[in-house]
Symmetry: C2
Subunit: 233 residues, 2 copies
């Protein structure tokens, strides 16, 4: 009988924002897998490093970040084979996910490859969406507000169309799309309602009004929040 | 000097989905406030009951659920006065919030009344949004998907317009709006991509295809998830 693959959300960066369930699974994990960049650094792994057993088996997974898909698909294929070997040998595997596993994460690609042959469970986590709002000190949405999560790589026309009918919006993965996004927000007259939160709950966190940020690229983990919901009462 | 008001998300219902930070603040709380219904029952309070100190001071807050706003405004005014007395006396107050305090929650109304005179902090929590996706075992969104959170009380025209341009949608607070919402989803040809999750992570949880549910009202804490994002790879 196969062991279980757990996709575990570790939250936005503050280790105290792990759930009790994530904390338990991570402390007990015999095998941990996690995404890493080309330098071998993994954000999710850094967040929970202090909770891991010293003898845990580590499976860092490097996925090339390219426009064409084939290299990433190969990386997920290889990783799923490696993970499946542990599962088949009876060892549970904990896959560490930034934020939440199913909220714009990469866990889904392993989940899709492995769920047919192995038990796979997802432990939800705190997303950057609500972490940014908490750090900013402004509500995301209330009552019958329409809330939209919009990836910054969308083109200006799509962003404009979606922002026109949203009481609340979170524009995620701002990075090198900052100037385009700010142009859209300004053209809609929403700049006074817009804030940018970088690296929410991490030591290098920055919270500013959109209008106060100079032109140029921002970090990948930057979110622009716009709230023009009902009058606060 | 005033003590601090903490708005603390307790997550979707499973007590193990509290964050470590929420768990710490709730265990240490001298004063806890929380919403209750007309019978005096409070969902958030029930979730964390076992973690509270036996001598904690309890402030149940009943807010009348009516279309006109005046009764609710009066209830928040009265609650904020009561909370402010504890804060001014140097006692921190932990306000328990279902899910996340700033994600369609009522904490914002107390926050708006108290933030001018007292330190107020928000501890984000796991929302029903990602908890539903985790229990369903289907991703919410990936890459450049547009994700929309749509309250079910919106009229059919607004729901239709927003669903037409969403790769992913979560329709929340389904309750007595179920038949209307299902009609919209069917008219758009999206029924085969739609699931309904009731009471996610709670003992009475139900997960079903939208097409398998008979007509009629559903519980308030029901969410319809529709995902038609990019092909899984």
């Amino acid at each position: 009988m196969s062991a279980t693959l757990y996709g575990v959300g570790v939250g936005p960066g503050d280790p105290e924002l792990l759930t009790l369930k994530a904390h338990r699974l991570i402390r007990e994990a015999a095998v941990v897998a996690y995404p890493v960049n080309a330098k071998g650094e993994g954000f999710a792994h850094t967040v929970v490093g202090k909770f891991l057993q010293s003898n845990a088996i580590h499976l860092p997974i490097h996925v090339p970040m390219k426009t064409e898909r084939a290299p990433a698909q190969c990386a997920y294929d290889a990783a799923s084979i490696e993970i499946a070997e542990h599962l088949s040998a009876g060892r549970d595997v904990v896959f560490l996910c930034e934020g939440d596993p199913f909220f714009f994460g990469s866990f889904m690609y392993l989940f899709e490859r492995l769920k047919g042959d192995h038990p796979c469970k997802v432990v939800p986590g705190v997303t950057s969406l609500t972490a940014c709002a908490a750090e900013l000190g402004r509500p995301l949405a209330a009552r019958n507000d329409v809330l939209k999560v919009l990836p910054a790589p969308l083109d200006a026309a799509a962003l404009t169309r979606e922002l026109e009918t949203a009481q609340s919006a979170a524009i995620i993965k701002v990075g090198r799309h900052f100037d385009k996004v700010r142009g859209v927000v300004e053209a809609l007259g929403l700049t006074s309602e817009a804030w940018i939160v970088e690296a929410a709950t991490n030591p290098e966190q920055k919270v500013r009004r959109l209008g106060d940020v100079p032109a140029g690229d921002r970090p990948y983990f930057s979110t622009i929040l716009i709230y023009r919901g009902e009058e606060q009462w």
